[in-house]
């Protein structure tokens, strides 16, 4: 197997008395679509946030593309700019139009000239099917549209990996499909993705590997079909019996 794009080793993270992660190791190859599932509070979101270092691990290391980003002196801003993240609650910037939301980071963090940044933003909005809503304020977009703008915003930085943190959980059911459709396209384009989700159908269809987490540890790993259809661990079975 080739060198993994992302290598997480022994990562632990505590919040006061709560041990959110208790020594998690995970490798994700380039082009892989890794799905993280598990009960609420199991640490899957924290693990995702440790990848782009929104959470700094108390122990362990994170390597991306051979560079240890948890090392002292690592350029976190550069690292984050290459790691796209989409949040459950969109977090679009409400004082900017859709286009400005997408163009901001290319212009400010990457230093592209204004015109070029907007051009790229337009292309990204087109990619998520929202070219016609470029001038709209976030508050005037549906939840599904907002989340697609958020995906376009992350893609505009040309990330090596995309992190999705329960991106459909805050959406009305009829809006979920349009976001999943965009993610499917993205997966088909070869993007490396780590997806925290409860959408098991989507996970089975798009995921190449699946990890089941519980109580701050990875309990079981395998292909989605293996984990979902033939779980080896009791805890996995118990969880799946509740969600499927």
């Amino acid at each position: 197997m080739a060198e993994p794009l992302i290598r997480i080793r022994g990562v632990a993270r505590r919040f006061g008395p709560v041990e959110a992660l208790r020594g998690v190791s995970l490798e994700v190859a380039a082009g892989e679509k890794r799905v993280l599932i598990g009960p609420s509070g199991c640490g899957k979101s924290t693990l995702l946030r440790c990848v782009n270092l929104l959470e700094v691990p108390d122990e362990g290391s994170v390597e991306v593309d051979g560079v240890e980003v948890t090392a002292r002196g690592a350029d976190l801003d550069l690292h984050r700019s290459r790691t796209g993240m989409v949040f459950q609650r969109f977090h679009l910037f409400p004082h900017m139009t859709a286009l400005e939301n997408v163009a901001l980071a290319p212009r400010v963090a990457r230093g592209l000239p204004e015109g070029e940044a907007r051009e790229r933003a337009r292309a990204m909005l087109d990619r998520v099917g929202l070219a016609d809503r470029a001038g709209e304020w976030p508050a005037r977009l549906s939840g599904g549209q907002q989340q697609r703008v958020a995906i376009a915003r992350a893609l505009a930085m040309e990330p090596k990996v995309m992190l999705f943190d329960e991106v459909t959980s805050a959406l009305d059911p009829e809006l979920v499909h349009e976001v999943l459709a965009v993610m499917r396209d993205l997966a088909a384009s070869g993007m490396t993705m780590i997806v925290v989700t409860h959408e098991m159908r989507f996970a089975r269809e798009v995921g190449t590997r699946m990890s089941f987490m519980d109580a701050g540890r990875i309990v079981e790993e395998g292909s989605p079909a293996e984990v979902l259809d033939a779980p080896r661990e009791e805890r996995t079975r118990a969880f799946l019996s509740r969600v499927l």
Binding site: D77, R89, F93, P94, V108, A109, W137, A139
Partner: protein, 482 residues
């Protein structure tokens, strides 16, 4: 009608403001030899001794006398308006070379400044309402209520009356109004001014003869012997030449009425008020940002001083802040390096500091109200903390706080009137000048209030415009789910 003179037999400031002024002033320096041109401080609101003419120029008996004296002494005099309580501190600080303001020569004052020979004999008199028969002299005032101008010799005399309640006002005019309103039984004040007031207003009369003998003198800094000699020499010549008698005939016996100022006199005050407001607001808006960021800093060496700054500044009365800066440490320090702190930087600094504490807290609340997910999203895109602040957090914080900032701005506009304690000729000060012309108090202050109201209404419009502009299409700052 004329403003009312009270003998400024004023005593060194002792109550509140006065005491503060003295403390803040510290000890004065020595200006060395008298310059060819001298600056003279006076409170131009005490006719017929000193007042403003219709154009706002300073005039009156004292003023014309000092001009004549200076001329005899080979000097030219220019006058600086300064509230009475601040006159001696200002003199000690070198803001001017001499002070003339119907100031009685007292032993207390002579400890901190030097006086020329007396140039006018005055005494304290008692004024009562027409029809008051129970008061014939000082002893009848026991247990009664006496209205005075603060820190005058009249004030001191009233304090010595056993069992009397003393109400001290910032100028003499309201003291007379208090008497007329029946809330005071008597006014104790200098003879010439009281005489003038009683002459011009019905219902007030003077009881008996002056019960003190006082002399007004011109004050100079301790140790400025050259100027003192030249002024005394000039005074002798003015006395012997007959000029003094002519001035007295004109200003005191002739009672040259204080010219009534036209309403237009208030207008330049609006300019000063707006200038003070704009300068102070700019300082406060910028400094407030640093205060807010300091308070939110994870670094203790930034956070703790910022918190202490807010706590201290919020707790100190604005008036004290102004006096500290204009007369106290800041002014002293600057004087040490040869800079005289002018009224504008001093007031802008005082207002700016005071409001930066409040506005800083307002900003902080505005920043805290921004969903932390906003900064996270920005950081996740690779923006640095500073970039996230600049492009994502602060623009939303500003929009959050615009209504509160509007409040602060309006409040500041009105608070600029406090600059009148350091004689800034802003709107309130000019109102006070006009109100000093007798019974126009209500009328004048109502017009002043209307002008402030007009300005604040204008500000409200600007604020609404800004809110609309920054609001954009985003009705909800945090469009979470829908």
């Amino acid at each position: 009608m004329a403003p009312l003179p009270s003998s400024r037999a004023r005593i060194p400031p002792s109550p509140l403001l006065g005491a503060l002024l003295l403390v803040a002033a510290g000890c004065g320096g020595d200006a060395g030899r008298a310059p060819h041109r001298i600056r003279v401080g006076t409170e131009a609101a005490y006719p017929p001794f000193e007042m403003k003419d219709a154009e706002g120029g300073i005039t009156g008996f004292d003023v014309e006398l000092v001009r004549a004296v200076a001329l005899e002494a080979g000097l030219t005099a220019e006058f600086v308006d300064q509230p009475f309580d601040g006159l001696i501190p200002g003199l000690q600080q070198g803001k001017y070379d001499a002070a003339v303001s119907a100031m009685t020569i007292t032993a207390e004052r002579a400890q901190v400044v030097d006086f020329t020979d007396g140039y006018y004999d005055a005494g304290q008199v008692i004024a009562v309402r027409e029809g008051e028969t129970g008061i014939r002299g000082l002893e009848d005032l026991r247990g009664r209520t006496i209205a005075v101008q603060g820190n005058t010799t009249g004030h001191r005399a009233a304090e010595r009356v056993e069992g009397a309640t003393v109400k001290s006002f910032e100028s003499i005019d309201p003291a007379f109004l208090e008497l007329q309103a029946g809330r005071a039984d008597a006014v104790i004040n200098d003879d010439p001014t009281t005489f003038l007031y009683a002459k011009e207003h019905r219902g007030i009369r003077i009881v008996g003869k002056p019960f003190t003998e006082e002399q007004y003198g011109i004050a100079v800094r301790k140790g400025n012997g050259d100027l003192l000699r030249r002024l005394n020499e000039g005074l002798r010549r003015v006395r012997s030449s007959g000029a003094w008698d002519r001035l007295r005939a004109r200003w005191i016996e002739g009672r040259e009425a204080a010219p009534r100022k036209a309403w237009g006199y208030l207008l330049p005050g609006i300019g000063y008020t707006l200038l003070l407001w704009a300068g102070s607001l700019a300082v406060a808006l910028v400094a407030g940002l640093f205060v807010a960021l300091g308070r939110r800093s994870p670094r203790a060496w930034l956070r703790l001083p910022a918190s202490a700054y807010v706590e201290v500044v919020r707790g100190v009365p604005l008036l004290v802040l102004i006096i500290w800066i204009y007369f106290g440490v800041v002014s002293e320090a600057l004087r040490g390096i040869g800079i005289t702190l002018d009224w504008f930087p001093a007031s802008v600094l005082a207002f700016g500091i005071c409001y930066s504490a409040f506005i800083g807290e307002t900003y902080r609340a505005g920043i805290q109200a921004v969903d932390p997910g906003q900064e996270e999203a920005a950081r996740a895109l690779g923006l640095t903390h500073r970039q996230a602040l600049r492009w994502v957090v602060l623009p939303q914080a500003v929009r959050n706080v615009l209504p509160a900032l509007g409040n602060e701005a309006i409040s500041l506009l009105k608070d600029t009137s406090l600059a009148m304690v350091i004689a800034v000729p802003e709107l309130m000060h000019r109102g006070k000048d006009m109100a000093g012309e007798g019974f126009r108090t209500m009328e004048v202050y109502s017009v002043v209030a209307a002008l402030y109201l007009a300005m604040t209404l204008g500000l409200t419009r600007v604020q609404r415009f800004l809110e609309r502009r920054t609001g954009g299409g985003a009705a909800h700052p945090d469009p979470r789910r829908r």
